[in-house]
Amino acid sequence: MSILVTHDTKVIVQGITGSAGSYHAKACRDYGTRVVGGVTPGKGGTTVEGIPVFNTVHDAVKATGASASMIYVPPPFAADAILEAADAGLELIVAITEGIPVLDMSRVKAALRGTRARLIGPNGPGLITPGDDPSTSSGQAKRPGCKVGIMPGHIHRPGRIGVVSRSGTLTYEAAWQLTQRGLGQSTVVGIGGDPVQGSTFVDILELFQQDPETDAVFMIGEIGGTAEEDAAHYFKSKMTKPLFAFIAGRTAPPGKRMGHAGAIVDGGPGKGGHGTAAEKRAVLEAVGVKVVDSPADMGDIVFKALRGS
C-alpha cells in the first residue's frame, strides 16, 4: 500500500525532549503513527507525552523493537545521531534537522554504505503514508496512516499517487492539490533541500516503481545539482509508471542560494549543467516526463492524465 512505512512501523524520536521533537512526536502519534519511544542522552527513564525516553538508540530499540527513527537533534550533533541510529540497526532514518554541515553528511553517507539503514533527508519534512481522515464518518473501518515528519496530516488522503520532493511546503501544496482533486497518495516523501542527501530522487522513484499500489508519481524538483537529470535518466531506462514534475526556481537569479543549501544555480567549475530550472525541464520533457509551468497545476495535470479531462 505504500513505500518505506506502513501503519505497523514502530518509530522512535531522537531529540524527543526538545521543543520540535516533543511537538512532532505527539503530532505523529495523534495522526496514527506508532511512536514507541524517544532518545535524549541523560533523560532516560523519563517520559514525553507518555512516550518513554531512553539514553541511547540501542536501549530504545531493545525495549521497543522500533525499526525507524525520526531525528530532531540540533545540527552540531545530528550526524552523530544518524550514525547511532544506523549502528543500532534501524532500517529507516528520517532526519528533519536543517543546517547540518555538508562534510558531515558526506562522511555519514560514506559510513552508511554497507549498513541496512536508509536515510531520508536531512533538511526535509519527512514522509507520510496517509490514513483515512478520522473526522469523516463513512461507516467503513478507518485505515490508519503513518506520518514520520512535520507535514500537516490532514491535507493528505490515502490513494495511489506517489510524491517525492526536495521541498517542504511546496510538497504540502502538491499533496493538497491532489487531495482536492480526489487523488489520494500512496506515500509522500520529502528528500530534503541539502546538497548531499541520504536518498535521491532515483532511490525513491525505484521504490514507487516497485510498489504495486502506486500508479503514478509526482516529483517536485528545484534549481541546483543534477538530481532531476538523474531522475530523467532513470525514468527513461527503468520506469513504466507515469511521472509528472514541477521544477521550482525558474526565476531565481544565478549565484544566489534560494533558502535551501542545495538550491543554487551554480557557475562552479568543471561541470556542465548549472542546475537551472530550464535545463532540468528540458531534460525531463525530452524523456516524456510531463512538467507543469505553474505550481498551481500540480494536481490538475495528474487528474487530467489519469482521469481524462
Binding site: S106, R107, S167, E173, P195, G249, R250, M258, S294, P295
Partner: protein
Amino acid sequence: MKLHEYQAKRLMAEHGLPVQTGVVIAKPSETAAALKKLGKGPWMVKAQVHTGGRGKAGGVAILKTAKEAAAFAKKILGTTLVTHQTGPQGLVVRKLLAEPAVKLERELYAAVLMNRKTGKPVLIASGEGGMDIEELAATSPEKILRLDIDPQRGLEGFHARRIAFATGLTGELMGASAVFFRDLVKMFLASDASLIEINPLGVLKGTKGRRLLALDAKVTIDDNAAFRQDELFKDADVSDLSAAERRAGKTGLSYIRLEGGIGCMVNGAGLAMATMDIIKLHGGEPANFLDVGGGANVDQVTEAFKIILSDPRVKVIFVNIFGGIMKCDVIAQGIIQAVRKMGLDRPLVVRLEGNRVEEGRKLLASSGLAITPASDLTEGAKKAVALAAASGGRPGLSDGTAGKN
C-alpha cells in the same frame, strides 16, 4: 560564505600551501607605504570582489612604479566592477590585494569541491590553467582529471601520482605536487569548504629549481559549518549585501532582493521560489525572495513584513503561506503587528492555507486591514500582478516611484 582572495590566501598559508605574502590596500593614500613592504616592483594589484573574470573587466593590473599603483588604486577603489559573472549591477571594489609580479613557466588548474552526485569531495586538476575551465571542459574534456575523494581519508598516494602524471608535474616537481594536493584536500576538509579553486596554479623557475605557487584562490565556506568555523566567519565581508539582506540575516530569515515590484512573504524555500515563478508566469515581477522559515515566531514574521514594507520599490505585497509547522494565526499576528508600527500604504494580497488557517483568517478579517484575500496560488498571483499593474508602470516592474518608506 565566500572569502576574498586575500582571506583565502591567508587560510592557505596557514595550511602550508604556497602563496605569496601580499598587502591589502583599502585607501589610495595607503598605496605607497603598502608597496614598500613588498619591495621593488613590478607588482600585481587585484580588486578584491567576490567574482571571477576580474582581469578582463579591468580589475587587475601589473604596475611598475608606486605612482602608477597609486593612480590605479585611486581609479578603481570605490568603483563598481562589472564582470561576466556579476550581472549588470556589478560589485563595489573596497579593497585591493598587491603582490610581487612573478613570471610563470606554466599555468595549471586545481580545485576541490563537493560532488553532489556522489556525496563526496572531488578534486579537479588540469595541466592547462589560466583560462576558463568551463571552456576547457567543453572543448577538451580529456585534459581534465577528476578524482573522488574519501571524506574520511583525504588524498591517497596513488591520487597524487595520477595528478602528477596527468598534469605533467613530474621530475623535480613530483614531490611538491604530492604535498600541494594533499594539503589542498586537508584544507578543504578542515575548514568546511564547499569550493577551493586555484586558477592559475603556477610553476616558477628560480635559481634553486622549479616550484609551485597559487596565484589566485577562490574559496567558499559552508554556511552550515559557521558554528565550528567561527574564526573564518568572524571576518565575513557582508558589504555586498543590501541593508535589508543583512537585517533579514540577523533575524534568521532568508531574503534575497530582486528587481520587481511585488514583495513576497512565503514560508518554505521551495514554495517561496514557486511563488516567484507563478508571479512571473502571470506577467509580474517579484521584488524579493523571502522565506520566513518553517517555525518562525510572531516577531520574526513582523520583522519579515517590515523588511518588505521598507522596500520603496514594492507596490504590492503578496503573502503566501502553507502552514505545516507554521501556524497561520502566527503569520496573521505578525502582519498586524508590523502594520500597526509602519502603516500599510500598499495593497496586500494574502493566501493562507494549512495549520490553524481559520484562526489566521479570522484575525486578519477582524483587524480592519484592507486585505485582498486569495483562495489559492493562482488567484493570489493574478491579483497581485493586477494590483501592481494598476499602481502604474509595467505590471509588477518597479519604476522607483511607489512607496513612501
